[in-house]
């Protein structure tokens, strides 16, 4: 299948400037005639006070910036081509994103247009709306997007701007308003999400630095609170749920007040941003072995240091060869890169797109959803007791992180941990997430449920773990569904257990004295 890219025309730049409170200038006006002039200037300043903010840009990953210049340029070019810029989004049809629009088909072909047929109610069609052909001679290649010139709601006559040839045939399918979800999503995102999650979904918006925990960086394609199995992507419903309910204990508020259309659109936009980010990451990962300028500089430096120490001690006759400098390494890499770009890169792009498309599609499939095989075990003392034993057992090992009393103060929070895939230790004690940030195990006695307070939510957290965190999944392997329910019953009862033990209360009283 040829990869098809649909460019979605930009409209006015949608980044709202954070602060537009500016008091009108006070002009010194002594003569009364100048009062009117002053008033006019004042109004003009008030109206223009909210100027344009800085131009929105999809920032590149740090890892992309570490590549050799030619490779960095290619990554940027590929991203621009496949995803566009915030002002001019591109809908890459390889990805399972619902880009939006209404589908119709050709009922009859006239001389300079077609008569259309729509299932259900006739949608509102405006001049200039993008018209994408899904089948027939106009579909495919770059000519597949036209724009609507006129549409007559009574006769259902549709005309488009641009070439008439090749003429569509009866039964050809098309989409009008293609990309509308991405467009609406962008507006909603820029107004409400961007200032924390960043334009590119990197979790580094202007207000992000003030938050703890930091906002999610979508670019790893990882989302914490999902209803799907451990390796799977989140479903649209999962993202919608987080959007509507917010995440207590974090700065993610509820966006219940958004309309249905806006909610759907922004969920698609976030999925798309996540795919874009993970696409970039995977391309980076592929290139960073051979084409990372930073890595080359580091290795050249290391080799040079080794060389310097050996020549001091070595005899004159067996002096080692001088190692290549970073510049030499980069120069060789640049030569090899043009070959890589020509021979390997198209395949890498294609495989990455396929992999991502498949994984996001799979997340939506029924098989990926965690459905308890048994109903919740009756929530009684016996069940809670069983849950407590499992919580403290070697099977569950919940206490190692969440603490014996569930206060999130297990021994794991006291240890130093190694960074994944290296021998280096984190500088901070305690656990870390995949984004490399310190992470507190949840204090289970607060009754604060980040991923939802329904029993099924807690069940899924234990069953599949929390993606991107050290919380592992216990379902199918370590624990049976009944056992998970026992733990759910125990954990959900912790909030209502009696107040701290007497000794703690006394200690506290002593301290406050």
């Amino acid at each position: 299948m040829a990869s098809r890219l649909i460019s979605i025309n930009s409209f006015a730049q949608t980044v709202t400037k954070m602060s537009c409170l500016r008091s009108p200038y006070r002009l010194a006006a002594s003569a009364s005639q100048r009062n009117f002039c002053c008033l006019a200037v004042g109004i003009a300043v008030l109206l223009s006070g909210c100027g344009q903010g800085p131009k929105a840009e999809f920032s590149l990953r740090d890892a992309t910036g570490e590549l050799i210049p030619a490779a960095e340029k290619v990554v940027k070019k590929t991203l621009d081509e496949k995803f566009g810029t915030p002002q001019n989004l591109v809908a890459w049809q390889r990805f399972p994103v619902n880009y939006g629009g209404v589908q119709g088909s050709v009922a009859d072909v006239a001389k300079d247009g077609v008569t259309t047929h729509f299932e259900g109610d006739l949608p509102a069609i405006h001049h200039g709306a993008p018209l994408l052909w899904l089948s027939g001679p106009r579909a495919g290649a770059k000519t597949s997007v036209d724009s609507v010139a006129t549409f007559d709601a009574t006769t259902k006559q549709l005309k488009w701007a641009g070439s008439a040839e090749p003429a569509p045939a009866v039964g050809d399918k098309f989409v009008i308003g293609y990309g509308s979800n991405l467009q609406t999503g962008r507006v909603v995102y820029m107004k409400n999400c961007m200032h924390c999650h960043g334009v590119a979904g990197d979790g580094a918006g202007p207000t992000a630095q003030y938050l703890n925990p930091l906002p999610r960086d979508y670019r790893l394609g990882l989302f914490k609170f999902t209803s799907t199995l451990t390796p799977e992507k989140p479903t649209r419903d999962d993202l919608t749920r987080v959007l509507q309910h917010g995440i207590p204990g974090t700065y993610m508020p509820s966006f219940r007040w958004l309309g249905d259309k806006e909610t759907t659109a922004v969920v698609e936009y976030v999925r798309w941003l996540s795919m874009r980010g993970e696409f970039e990451k995977r391309i980076d990962d592929d290139m960073s072995n051979d084409y990372s300028a930073v890595a080359m500089e580091a290795s050249a430096k290391k080799a040079n240091e080794a060389y310097q120490t050996t020549i001091k001690t070595a005899k004159k006759e067996d002096k080692p060869e001088k190692p290549k400098t970073a510049n030499q390494l980069i120069k060789t890499a640049l030569e090899e890169f043009s070959k890589y770009e020509k021979d390997d890169l198209p395949g890498v792009i294609n495989d990455t797109a396929t992999l991502l498309a498949e994984s996001w599609k799979k997340g939506e499939e029924a098989d990926s959803l965690i459905v308890p095989t048994v109903a919740r075990v009756a929530d009684n003392e016996a069940s809670r007791e069983r849950g407590k034993r499992l919580y403290l057992s070697d099977k569950g090992k919940c206490y190692t992180c969440h603490g014996v009393q569930g206060r999130g103060d297990g021994v794991a929070t006291e240890d130093f941990w190694k960074k994944p895939g290296s021998d280096e230790y984190y500088s901070h004690r305690g656990l870390h997430d995949t984004w490399g940030r310190p992470l507190q195990p949840r204090n289970l006695t607060l009754g604060q449920y980040r991923g939802g307070r329904r029993p099924v939510d807690v069940f899924r957290r234990i069953y599949a773990g929390i993606k991107g965190t050290p919380m592992p999944g216990f379902g199918r392997t370590a624990l049976k569904d009944e056992e998970i329910w026992d733990i759910v019953n125990y954990v959900m009862s912790l909030q209502f257990q009696s107040a701290p033990t007497k000794s703690i209360v006394t200690d506290h009283a002593t301290v406050s004295k």
Binding site: M18, N192, H195, T207, S227, D237, Q244, H245, G246, P248, Y251, P253, S254, F255, R256, W257, A366, L369, I370, V371, P372, V374, A375, R376, G447, R453, R454, P455, V456, F459, R460, W485, M492, S493, Q495, F496
Partner: protein, 271 residues
Amino acid sequence: MGRFWAVFFVASAVIAVGLCWVAPSYGLWFPGTLKGGFGAGVAHSSIGKKIDDLFYLVLVIVAVTYIGTHAVLGYVLWRGATIKPEEKVLFSHGSHSLEVIWTIVPAGILLYIALYQMDVWAAYRFKEFSPKKAEAVAEVTARQFEWRIRYPARGKTLMPTPQPDDVYTVNELHVPTGRPVSISLKTEDVQHAFFVPELRIKQDAVPGLTIPVWFDVDEPRQYEMVCAELCGWGHYKMKARLIAVSDEDFGAWKDKAALEQFDDGFKKPAE
């Protein structure tokens, strides 16, 4: 030049009064249901109607004063600008009786307003619905930047601390109509303010305090509920809905919400 200022001040007063006169027909008046297309929105709570009456009383006093003083101002400016050179001018400066009049009349008006409004304030705060008469329906906790709401289970009373069978919603406050209800207003972080414009109910949420707010809603529908205290950079996001329904519907909604909240995912795998 003098004539210009006479015309200018009279004209600006006429324009101001005219704009106020037509404002209701453009919907630029009190929020609430409009009566017969024209008008000021009508408040949807009994206390709201009293507050509106106060506003109207003050508005009438202010309008009469404003029109009266501008008529006099316009006359004096015009008269001064068109006076003939041979005419003798009248100086009223230093008139004790005039000064006594314009001190006593406004003081009397202000005193009247001050005494008259006390009754409405008393009704709002304690006279009409004491917390004992109003049913505590929910605990509303504001935080940056949303409203988290906790209800007692159907048939139970709201407890100060969470109970295992409590029902939760975010950014949607459900209340029954037709009888006084109260909420316990709290904040988790900074100061916020609970504001339902169409009910004319506004109350600050203050850190460390639980403040009871009581009101009644006369019509079952949705009302906008916002934060009325600039509470941070995301203040604009604290937009929520107050959903008022009849008593039966309120019970039915709570049953449904509880069912959803205690969903174990077993029977309904589609969720």
